[in-house]
Symmetry: C2
Subunit: 335 residues, 2 copies
């Protein structure tokens, strides 16, 4: 059984293992530098479905099935399915839960969902209740952009600080019967509002929440940031990453070359026209469950801090003139 | 430490106590038969706020503060805040989390959120991590009806089988330092789709999910349904309650007079023109954290099974011709 350490961090006594992962990437993500690390890459963003929403849930379902297959695990052997996504009422997760038939806990953490599900799932396992938990999330450029901003068919000009919503899905199977990197700690974040109001500038909005959780994680654990091979935020993009780095430095925590962002890593920012980088639940899910999980398997990674970041506004709250509330959750993963 | 019992149920070894609750009801709910059991009743459905959305979150924040006050607990003493609501991106919960400043796990279970938060919070406490967890939810007639159906100002005629979304909020503080009823078990439900497509007929859509979880709870625990003073579904309304009762009887589980529904109990169905009863996250939250919690305090209730019910569709999924996925989570509460 684990214990609470400091104010917001839980360290596990019996750290759960990430037994397997499953990843499905969109066609555009398949052109990026991490394409070799994804299990499947779609050739059609609609994935032969009638709607983009159906395409998104088909990716999520497939990512879950891949994770289960990679661990030779059936749905009947999984105790709980923890999932969420960006769409109103998390319909991608809800419909995937019908197909899987596993008891379902719906989560909403916007783009922090991968870290939220991984951390919460690990806590439930370490608590001794469940033997196996499946945590998953997805996003789709055409469903998210239409819901939050403009339909992609409209072809509106994008601002230089905007990020590109990732099309993809990722799933992780957590348990004890097998080998793999372990989830050893989680820091759940507070919701931060520093007055950001521009829903096109997500990186700037989320940076203070990321800095708050990262700072708290090191306060709580007393770890040296250099002990990590990689500290990676979810989807701050290059503008948000710089802001976060600066804010941490102002508070006396100077992070070095081992600090990066999944939204910066997943695309080739020089060749792919995504402006400030990637966003969306699938940004951190694809990078963590695809690229970084393979690095653990190849023994190129020993200590990872994944800091999922989420902007918790809605179109209604924005249209009513409200600020953008943001959150970040940090999960420590070790070989 | 608790253990898994049967397929979907977790029984707690060190059952957490519901230390206190907080409830805020809307004006119309204040005219119902349970009005004496709510801590506060609004005189204005907008609660002196600019928007109905702000009114909803003001109720949620107040319910949380009342629960904390009733236990003489400060926000700094609470480890985790688990909350969700019906609005897109659960903005009521997100904005409340800013005010509270407690590390936040966002949940989405539609109207099952009270049971989801209570069950998950209890699991995290029994797992030995947290000392105190605050679980809360809200709904507002004017925010939910506008988002899901028609703006209330439109004054559309309602169908006889429709339910009335409750305006209100409820919070429960879970921990070990105090007295009160205990959460002794939880059964997390699967997402069920039996082909229901009418978003105006929520009771009929959710009844199969409620029946599935209730049936599984008794299969898993071996308890006699008559051991409960009350088995209460979240918001099936009178049509859904009858359907659920019938479906359970067909499967050999005949429930008696001790089977009821929060959506039937919260209004006077003869005098208040709500048609089939109540719906909304606050239906089960107000009845459980207001009325039933007071019954526990008065020793009029010993064994309660709360079965939160949720319809997991969105307006997009409905408009795209999809069925309505539903879920139910059951929480056993004992004196």
């Amino acid at each position: 059984m684990g214990k609470k350490t400091g104010k917001q961090t839980y360290q596990f006594g019996n750290p759960p293992i990430i037994l397997s992962t499953g990843t499905v990437a969109g066609p555009f993500e398949g052109l990026g530098p991490l394409h070799e690390d994804f299990d499947e890459i779609l050739t059609d963003p609609r994935n032969n479905e009638k709607t983009f929403e159906q395409a998104e849930r088909s990716m999520l379902t497939k990512a879950c099935q891949l994770a289960l297959d990679h661990a030779s695990c059936s749905t009947a052997e999984v105790d709980l399915f923890l999932a969420g996504d960006l769409l109103n009422q998390i319909i991608s997760a809800n419909f995937t839960a019908i197909t899987l038939g596993i008891p379902f806990l719906g989560l909403y953490g916007a783009c922090s969902t991968a870290a939220l599900g991984l951390g919460l799932g690990a806590m439930l396992l370490d608590g001794g209740f469940a033997g196996t938990v499946l945590a998953a999330t997805s996003s789709h450029n055409s469903t998210a952009e239409r819901q939050y901003r403009y339909p992609t068919e409209y072809g509106g000009q994008r601002r230089p600080y905007q990020q590109w919503t990732v099309t993809g899905a990722g799933a992780a199977l957590l348990g004890y019967n097998g080998a793999g990197p372990k989830v050893t700690a989680v820091t759940f974040g507070k919701v931060i509002d520093l007055g950001s109001t521009d829903p096109l500038n997500m990186g700037a909005a989320m940076a203070p929440a990321a800095a708050d959780t990262i700072f708290q994680h090191f306060q709580d654990t007393g770890w040296d940031p250099n002990a990590f091979d990689l500290i990676v935020t979810g989807d701050l993009g290059k503008i948000g990453l710089d802001l976060c780095r600066g804010e941490l430095a102002e508070n006396g925590l100077t992070l070095g070359e081992n600090f990066n962002d999944c939204g910066v890593m997943i695309y080739d920012l020089k060749k792919q026209d995504v402006h400030a980088g990637a966003s969306g639940c699938a940004a951190s899910a694809l990078v963590t469950y695809g690229h970084l999980y393979k690095k653990f398997q190849k023994k190129e990674l020993q200590h990872l801090l994944l800091v999922g970041t989420g902007a918790l506004h809605s179109t209604t709250s924005f249209q009513q003139g409200e600020n953008i509330p943001c959150v970040a959750h940090a999960v420590r993963i070790e070989a």
